[in-house]
Amino acid sequence: MSAIAAFSSRNFKEVIRDPLSYIFCLGFPLVMLVIMTLVNESIPAQAGMTIFRIDNLAGGIAVFGLTFVMLFTCMGISKDRAGAFLTRLYASPMRSADFILGYTAPMFLLCVIQIVITFIASFIVSLITGVELSAAGLLLSLAALLPSALMMTGFGLLFGSLFGEKAAPGLCSIVISLASFLGGVWFDADSTGGVLLDICRVLPFYHSTRAARAAAAFDFETCLPSLLITLAYMAAVMAAAIAVFRIKMRADAE
């Protein structure tokens, strides 16, 4: 436990001492929250478009923010693998489980902090715009987002183990774009139908956003199926990430 705590603490400090993590993990999602609220205010009520209304936007922006935690997890691991720091730790009594938990725990905590800040900002926006958004609903939405937080951390662990320091950020940017677009953060995926909706439904990001929005609205009938799908994805992604990390750790030792 001591090794996990020491390594987690190091990874947490590495992220919170990087100014870029504030810009991408907090600043950018919050700026998008404000911009999209302004866009929503500019859309005439007759259009019947509610995707950017704060009760829908809050969950979407929270999912969007989580993709940046994935990016920072991935960048941290790929950078560690490229340098000699991990060589020292591989020669220490740390086991592969210590490394995996040491990377996952602090990033999961960052996800929770990020969601809380996003929801506080959303709540303030709801008070300003007069759209009803309950604190209890946001708490439920936070709970519904926890599997997504772990899944995004798992994606970061997986990509960081698979890709090198140079390739990792670029590839993560593609995933961020796909996740926010096909996750229905910026458009109402359910109103599209056809192949696009099928693709959205196959991927986990749509279900993350859907579960978060439905939980905030106390719509458990919509939330539960999406939550179960997200949980299944979370388990699969974490299993793949752990397996790949262990394989890479053994390969690095050769």
């Binding site: 603490s9 400090k13 220490s92």
Partner: protein
């Protein structure tokens, strides 16, 4: 007592044999230098001894514990200061040392006393609250060695500890390393002949993965008929090259 032992230790990467049937013994408290040109097999040997790499065949032991079968025990008693500076860049000097204490399971009191001891030993006091990334190359290397030494190893591997440092920083680091002599077993790999000459009790020269010469400086001088480690090294390396060509 034998501190480090290799028996027919071999490492192959596809067609290339990096270490070839290496037999070595290093006594407890000895300062042992491993020399060789690039690709001679020094770092690969150190990696196998510190459980970072598995031997293709043969065995190696640290304080009688097998590096293959008893990795957990070996990792508790051996530490490495890798070739590249292995520090957490955004952590302070003190935090880096405390992190290693945590990884090795030290309690709060021991963590505090060992950190203070290393800061004093390596003269890191002035920089203890500075982020590691702000340190110069020489100070980073000192921190890197302190992070290895804080684990209370019985065997310490120093893989080219002064590589890339200027003359002054190198000399300063030698003084620190010299202070460790006799307290623990140290295996040093280096390209600097002067470094090995000044610090080591015994010197091994590796050529193409094989042990080409082994002994004290005076033994190596008598063996080759040369004076000074640089001349000894060149003589052994050229002999090795000729033998490989034949």
């Amino acid at each position: 007592m034998i501190s480090v032992e290799t028996r027919q230790l071999t490492k192959k990467y596809k067609e290339k044999t990096a270490v070839d049937k290496l037999d070595l013994t290093v006594g407890e408290g000895e300062f042992f230098a491993l020399l060789g040109v690039n690709g001679a097999g020094k770092t690969t040997t150190v990696r196998m001894l510190s459980c970072l790499s598995k031997p293709t065949s043969g065995e190696c032991f640290i304080m009688g514990h097998s590096c293959s079968a008893e990795q957990a025990k070996v990792k508790r008693i051996a530490a490495i200061s890798p070739q590249d500076t292995a520090v957490a860049e955004k952590l302070t000097v003190r935090e880096n040392l405390e992190m290693i204490c945590g990884i090795y399971g030290f309690d709060k009191a021991k963590k505090s006393s060992k950190t203070a001891e290393m800061i004093t030993l390596f003269g890191l006091g002035e920089y203890e609250n500075n982020a590691a990334k702000t340190l110069s190359g020489g100070w980073k290397r000192k921190l890197s060695i302190a992070m290895a030494l804080i684990t209370e190893p019985k065997v310490l591997f120093l893989d080219e500890p002064t590589l890339g440092l200027d003359v002054l920083a190198r000399r300063e680091l030698w003084e620190v390393i010299r202070g460790l002599k006799g307290r623990i077993t140290i295996i040093l790999t280096t390209h600097y002949m002067e470094e090995a000459e000044q610090l080591s009790d015994r010197i091994a020269i590796m050529i193409n993965g094989k042990l080409a010469a082994l002994g004290t400086l005076s033994e190596l001088e008598s063996m080759t008929g040369e004076t000074g480690l640089e001349n000894v090294f060149v003589s052994v390396a050229e002999r090795g090259r000729k033998e490989a060509a034949e």
